[in-house]
């Protein structure tokens, strides 16, 4: 069991209405690693996380987590599985009517019968791990973006999950908060023995902390490899993405009729 991958995507297809988002995705993720899924905006990265969490079901293929096929689980089984997962949403999604302390304590109070004194110790330990033990009495509205992200991180590891999913953990953070959050993801993954999946388009920060990278473009995995392999990659999309070039396989221009047609000029050649 220890050697089998924690998460496996087998030929997963998914569409929103008639718009196909994923077309035959195959991935496998080992335990104890930090894995990044990269791709442009709207490439279906977040959908991958929603499939793992069972929020949506694939139209074909299967996603399995710890040997269980997610979309075949009953509601109760799915909720049992989710208790072993944590998720950090793009902007933290802290409960705005609860204090930092109560946010982290939320799952412990809902899912366990631990006495309040023990919950207090556990919450302070989780907050200490992200450096915010002193902020336990603040309300989410009083936190900076970076602090909120760290509180959300503490909340997502509240029940010591086997898997934590991070949806754009670096979006909108200043450089200091960015390295703090990046470092925390790596350190917590190693010390807690969990597996982390990052969905991100922040190339430089992610390549420093991850073990493996998948590139998603137009609903298919175009490339994958270790950070070193990715940096050296000659695959045009990966090269464009890693080096942030404006034009390449991903065009600068949105699909349109020719420029001359739009401007009503007959003689000009299309751009």
């Amino acid at each position: 069991m220890a050697d089998s991958p924690l998460i496996e995507f087998r030929n997963v297809n998914f569409s929103y209405g008639t718009r196909p988002v994923l077309k035959g995705v195959d991935m496998s993720m080992s335990r104890g690693q930090v894995i990044a899924i990269m791709g442009g905006s709207g490439s279906g990265k977040t959908t991958l996380l929603r499939l793992i969490g069972g929020e949506v079901s694939p139209s074909a293929g299967s996603v399995s987590v710890a040997g269980q096929t997610v979309h075949e689980l009953s509601r109760d089984e799915l909720f049992r599985l989710r208790r072993k997962m944590g998720m950090l949403f793009q902007f933290g999604a802290l409960f705005t009517d609860l204090s930092v302390f109560d946010n982290v304590a939320f799952q412990m109070r809902e899912h366990t019968d631990l006495p309040e004194s023990m919950i207090r110790d556990l919450v302070l330990m989780k907050l200490h791990a992200v450096g915010l033990r002193g902020a336990h009495h603040l309300m989410p509205a009083q936190l900076s973006g970076g602090m909120a992200r760290r509180v959300a991180l503490a909340r997502s590891i509240a029940l010591d999950p086997m898997l934590v999913m991070f949806d754009e953990p670096f979006a909108g953070l200043d450089p200091i908060s960015l390295s703090v959050v990046g470092g925390l993801i790596r350190r917590l993954t190693d010390t807690l023995g969990m597996t982390s999946i990052l969905v991100t388009h922040d190339v430089q920060e992610s390549l420093q902390i991850v073990d493996y990278v998948y590139f998603l473009a137009d609903g298919v995995i175009t490339a994958h490899g270790t950070p070193d392999e990715v940096r050296e990659s000659k695959v045009p999309f990966v090269h464009q993405f890693v080096h942030g070039e404006t034009d390449g396989p991903v065009p600068f221009h949105y699909q349109a009729q020719t420029y001359s047609q739009d401007l009503g000029i007959g003689v000009m050649k299309s751009v």
Binding site: R82, F89, L94, T96, F106
Partner: protein
């Protein structure tokens, strides 16, 4: 011309089908809320908290409005009744108008705009900021944990608020007619007491406000849960809560009145 007509008929048909579909969706949603209400009742402090937000925090607007409505009723009632020399019946007029109609209806309208809109906006924003999704990912059902307690908080608050509206209204009528104008206090109260029937007037009024509470809160939680997760979506949902609730209250009031009061008692 024919083409325009076709487009027009199509859009009308589309809207009708759409609204019927939405009504069915809302009904299923509310049934789901009822089904998932058990955990809320087992941890009753979740509901108590919502009674505080929906009920206690609405008290000021309810009490002040009730007082003024009662005072106006007293003035207008006295003005007309004294022409027939029956100004001592003003107590009856104030009490019956409030207990049967104005109490439940105006309290429900105020409740929809004070508490219903707040509920919609809160749930809509929780959805827009992914708090509901986050809760779902923590294996906690947001309908059971967030929606159901709010629904019951509103349902329990509404009849209490309507009752308090009527009581302060009657006090306002007393203040104006007895204290300021000088209508005889004894006949004010004794006529009211003999004219207002507990089962026929008061219980029917409470039943009305019970219905309004269910309808307003159901609309409020549904609109919040169904709101598109954008600033515009939440603001439109909030507006819809107030407008739909107001129409529903007034329409339902007519139906309930037609069933309850037929002049036979």
């Amino acid at each position: 011309m024919v083409k325009q007509l076709k487009v027009f008929i199509e859009s009308v048909g589309h809207r009708v089908v759409d609204s019927i579909w939405r009504l069915g969706y809302a009904t299923r949603f509310i049934l789901l809320v009822l089904l998932k209400s058990v955990p809320g009742f087992l941890r009753f402090r979740l509901i108590t908290r919502e009674i505080y937000f929906a009920g206690v925090l609405s008290l000021i607007i309810i009490l002040v409005s009730g007082l003024f409505v009662g005072m106006v009723l007293g003035l207008q009632g006295y003005e007309t009744l004294q022409k027939f020399g029956s100004e001592s019946a003003v107590g009856t007029l104030v009490a019956l108008s409030l207990v049967r109609e104005l109490g439940p209806v105006i309290a429900a309208l105020l409740f929809a705009s004070r508490a219903g809109s707040a509920m919609t906006a809160e749930i809509g924003l929780m959805k827009a900021t992914e708090q509901l999704a986050a809760m779902g990912m923590m294996a906690i059902d947001p309908i059971a944990r967030i929606i159901a307690p709010r629904f019951w908080g509103g349902v329990f608050s509404m009849p209490l608020l309507a009752a308090m509206f009527s009581v302060t209204g009657i006090f306002g009528g007393y203040l104006v007619t007895v204290v300021f104008i000088g209508v005889d206090e004894g006949s004010f109260w004794s006529q009211m007491q003999s004219a207002v029937d507990f089962r026929y007037d008061i219980v029917n009024g409470v039943i009305k406000s019970g219905f309004f509470g269910v309808v307003v809160t159901a609309i409020a939680v549904f609109e919040g849960f169904d709101a598109p997760p954008t600033a515009e979506g939440v603001s439109r949902a909030t507006t819809r809560t107030v407008v739909t609730s107001a129409l529903a209250i007034l329409g339902l009031d007519f139906v309930l009145t037609a069933f309850m009061f037929r002049g036979v008692s």
